[in-house]
Structure formats: structure tokens, C-alpha cells
Symmetry: C2
């Protein structure tokens, strides 16, 4: 695999290519031109060629892209050919909703623990995964290599818990708490700030009403 | 309020300014310089000045920003001075988790209905909000002006339901279904594709392991 750096903007677009290619595969399509892909994805063909040229060797002039090859290669680039051990911190509604997503499991994201500090739900199972208490987190991290920790807890607790996770060896955090985490050097954080996404809609609604 | 167009990139950053300003307000801070805000938000001061200059009249040279004024104005720009009626389509785990978010309510996003097609949960209440059946959706849309519909349902059903919502007068869709919706002209769609966010982490983990 190429190891040269791909721009962050392209990386952000890769999952969407991956999704469309997966759908094409499901429909039995073997080859697709950048023009046809362009029409389907509503992105310009030149954008597609530019994005996919990043990896080299995918497109053949006048022949189109090999769907399966491209799907597999993008999957590898996205790291979807591997398995990740995930835990969820915060077994509230959102934490449990994420634990119930079988789709993540299918993509290789295996949830192996859920933690909370509410003793009333200690030992409860969510899709077969046990809810453990926060006091058992450090020991759990010693015994299990965790690739990704998902934070679905109140923002006031998020940074402290994140630091505890990092001290326990966790290097990647999927953060749903509505705060920015300040963590040491090489820890990766991916934020999902739902209320900020909702504000894009209220902005656009307001905008449209002003334009009327 | 200014009605000139603000770039999409700036609009995407506004909720984060709004959050930090809200925190400053909570701490009793009345004025803040772009340099101090820069340090806090870990964005360059020139970026901050550039972003906030979009609205004109916020910053006073050598005097800093008036936190409360800026907070209020950005809130207005984001449309957070108004109330929105929201419904949720799909009362699965994620739909119920979103319905349970009191924070949305506080920001003016009022959830007034949840719809599903599972008769077993008909009439159940989620935070006091009744789960209704999909067959009652069209009548509900006739009787209630809905500003935003949230889609937390399987992707196969998403586009068809979205069109039904649009026919019923809904103009803004918060889409959690993992598919792109193709809808008529002026309907606004804001996508939250959780698995694509997770793939940013698996990409970065893979990248880091390659670089070792």
C-alpha cells in the first residue's frame, strides 16, 4: 500500500466512495467510469479522478474503475480490513444505542465493554455486552488492548475520563461529549457534536426565512 | 441582522464559537481578546478575527469582544433565538436516545412526535413524547407545522419516507440513515453518518501503525 500522505479532505470523502462502491458491488457492477460514478455520487468526474488518483493505479483510461478492486483498496486504506476493540464509556441512551449498532461490528469495530457509574445497571447486558462499573475501568484496560474508546458521557466528566483512558493505553477516542478534549500528543480524537450538526439546520432555516 | 452570505466553512465553525462564548459567559467573563480566545479555542487569533469580522461590528480594536453581545448575535445567526418543532422517524435505540436529549429542547428544538412502524411500541412515551404509527404521519403533518424531521431508520426506507415528509411540508431533514437523500429543490439535509466518522479513526489508527 502507498504510504504517502493523503489530504484530510480526501480522507473525509473516502468513506462515501467506499459506501457507493459497496452498493455497486451489491448490484453486481464490475466496472464503472468516473462519469457514471460522478452522476451517481453527484460529484464532478474530475473531483473523482483527482481523489482516486491519490492512490495510484486504480483507474484505467477509457476502461473505468474496477469496482471490487477499488472497494477493497479503499477499505484497506480506511483500515477496514482489521478488527478494532472498542469500549463505550457512558451507558446512557446514546451509549446503549451505539452498543446496539450491529453495523459497526460488521465493519470490524468490536465493542467489548460498556462502562457506567450507575450501580443500578451494573451487570446488565446490551446486545450481550456487560455493563461494568467505572471503578473497574483501569483493571480492564490492563487486561485488554483497547483500540477505540467511545465517550457518551456528560461533558463535565469527559476530559478527566479521557486522560484516564489515555493513561491506560487508549490511543483513539470517539467523542460524543460536547467539549473539546485536550490530550497528550499522539492520541486521536474524532468528535461527533450532535447539537452542532443540528445548528447547521437551524442556521439554514433562518437563512431561508430571511431570504423570503 | 446582516443578511449577506457567510461561507459554509465559517458557518460550520460558528457553533464552536457559540459553545466557548457560552462557557465564558458562565464563568462571568465579560470581554475577551482574540488572542485569549485563540489560546482557549486553539485556533489562530487571525482566524478568529477573520471569522468574526464576517458579521461586522463585533470586535473593538484593543478592547476585545463583548462576550455576551457576541454570544447573543451568533445565537441569532444560528437561529437559536427561535423554537423549532421536530419529529423523529424511527423509534429504535438511536431515535429514542435523541428524543431523550433534553439539551436539544433547551436550545429550542422541541420534539413533538416520534414515529415508528412497530405496533408493539405504539403509544409508548419517550420523555413524555408519544410514539405514533407511521400510518398516522400524513395526518400529523397536516395538523402540525414541522420544521425539522430526524431520520433514524434503516437506509432502505429513508428516501421514500423523506419524500413523504417533504410532501407533507417538511423543509429540513436531520438524516442519520446511512444514505444520501435525493430530494426536491429547497429541502435542507444535514447528514450524520456515524460509521463514516468511525472510519476516520480506523484510518488514522492504520496510518499511525504504518508509520511506526
Amino acid at each position: 500500500m502507498e504510504t504517502r500522505e493523503i489530504s484530510k479532505a480526501v480522507v473525509k470523502r473516502l468513506p462515501r466512495y467506499y459506501r457507493y462502491l459497496g452498493e455497486l458491488l451489491g448490484e453486481g457492477v464490475e466496472r464503472i467510469s468516473s462519469n457514471d460514478l460522478s452522476e451517481r455520487m453527484q460529484v464532478t468526474a474530475s473531483q473523482i479522478r483527482q481523489d482516486l488518483n491519490n492512490f495510484g493505479g486504480f483507474g484505467q483510461q477509457g476502461y473505468g474503475y474496477n469496482v471490487k478492486y477499488l472497494y477493497t483498496e479503499i477499505g484497506k486504506i480506511l483500515g477496514l480490513d482489521k478488527t478494532y476493540h472498542m469500549i463505550i464509556i457512558g451507558a446512557g441512551h446514546l451509549g446503549q444505542a451505539l452498543a446496539n449498532y450491529v453495523k459497526f461490528e460488521k465493519r470490524g469495530f468490536r465493542i467489548i465493554g460498556i462502562f457506567d457509574n450507575n450501580p443500578e445497571i451494573r451487570g446488565h447486558l446490551v446486545r450481550g455486552i456487560e455493563i461494568r462499573m467505572m471503578e473497574d475501568l483501569d483493571a480492564f484496560l490492563k487486561e485488554n488492548k483497547i483500540d477505540i474508546a467511545t465517550l457518551t458521557l456528560p461533558k463535565a466528566a469527559a476530559e478527566e475520563i479521557a486522560l484516564r483512558l489515555v493513561n491506560g493505553g487508549v490511543k483513539a477516542i470517539w467523542n460524543f461529549a460536547h467539549t473539546d478534549l485536550h490530550l497528550p500528543g499522539d492520541v486521536m480524537v474524532e468528535n461527533v457534536h450532535l447539537s452542532e450538526s443540528l445548528m447547521q439546520l437551524s442556521y439554514n432555516i433562518t437563512r431561508r426565512d430571511l431570504d423570503k
